[in-house]
Subunit: 225 residues, 2 copies
């Protein structure tokens, strides 16, 4: 049986919002520890040399539509942040265990709900403060701590550690050391937590070890081959 | 009601294989026309400046695992092509309507099954010929046609047209002019075909028109903000 779940997210991602709405209940029902890790998605993209979905115009449009369809079908409140992309640094630092402490889940829920559910500007310190206050949290103390050098360093190191574990996107959930990317694989996470992961690891190792046969940069639709 | 489905794919993608296994039945059951478009995924990546999932090491590993989990849970035969990535040009050209004609669905099914189901090398003309022959298709005639300049030009133009429609990945399915990316949104495709797409297009338009607030290349995890 799995002993631990790590959840990596950035508020920039609506899919992270959807996953957040489920991961707590999935862990709590099973009595499994849930560690919550804010990371800077921009830092992951930079590290892996990848574009985010919102940086490819038709993918951005598809992603919004996909999110609205999911929300409608699952009865989820979705307004999307009123500015996007936004600078997520303060929101992420507010959500660090080093800053939020025992209130971490409440902080994360308050920010996700205010941004993705109700549409505040998650890059605005004033609007973030309002969202925290409405949840009965002490926004002034939290923002002061989140603005300290130690919080900046913690987010930097946390993002680095995530890269070191192979996190390439958000949300990413680990069940022990097994990585699950995205908000639409919650079923696999539950199976893994219940000791029923259908994966045959030997087949995966064998497939990953197979030879490469082509370099896609040399393959052209009108070319030889 | 929707009048037409367009399916864009490249054999390089295991997700395209999964979608192919369902899209015919989804269309046929409703009497909806299905147009099948082989495109070069490498050309899409190049056009949008994007990396493929197999080009980010931990994403490649995740994608294989994800595919094996899906196959096991849905009873799908999956061996994966024995060389990957491979040069897909001949396989794609064999699958063009201009080449395969009335046998297009049989050709596409034969190639997908032989590669992803049974593990042949989809970059090998000899192994492709064997796969077509086993399906009772005339591999010699098909390969001759697929190797003609007209076929090369058709694949090039088809990939260009796909980019022009906003295709950024494979598989992509259009229901009339609505784009659905991936193999895990078949439910949305079915809803759209049944005139029950849950999407509120006005909300999407409004969300897409909102202002941008940050440039992620300027946001650093340890930076100001």
């Amino acid at each position: 049986m799995a002993s631990r779940v790590d959840f990596y997210f950035d508020y920039i991602s609506g899919y992270a919002y959807f996953a957040w709405l489920r991961i707590q209940e999935i862990c709590d029902r099973r009595g499994v520890a849930l560690d919550i890790h804010p990371v800077l998605f921009a830092g992951l993209l930079e590290r892996w040399g990848q574009l985010g979905p919102a940086e490819i115009p038709p993918k951005r449009e598809w992603a919004y539509k996909d999110a609205f369809r999911h929300a409608r079908l699952h009865g989820i409140e979705l307004s999307c942040p009123k500015v996007h992309p936004f600078n997520p640094l303060l929101a992420l630092r507010l959500s660090l265990p080093e800053v939020a402490g025992a209130a971490q889940r409440r902080v994360v829920s308050a920010i996700f709900r205010a941004g993705w559910g109700q549409g505040i500007d998650l890059g605005s310190p004033e609007e973030l403060a309002g969202a925290l206050d409405r949840e009965g949290l002490d926004s002034a103390a939290l923002i002061q701590q989140a603005s300290a050098p130690a919080a900046k360093e913690a987010l930097r190191q946390g993002t680095e550690r995530a890269v070191g574990r192979g996190v390439f996107g958000v949300p990413t959930t680990f069940v022990d050391d097994e990585l699950f990317w995205g908000s639409d694989r919650m079923e696999y996470i539950e199976l893994a937590l219940d000791g029923r992961d259908p994966l045959d690891h030997a087949r995966v190792r064998e497939a990953l070890a197979r030879p490469r046969g082509a370099d896609r940069r040399k393959v052209r639709p009108g070319g030889d081959g």
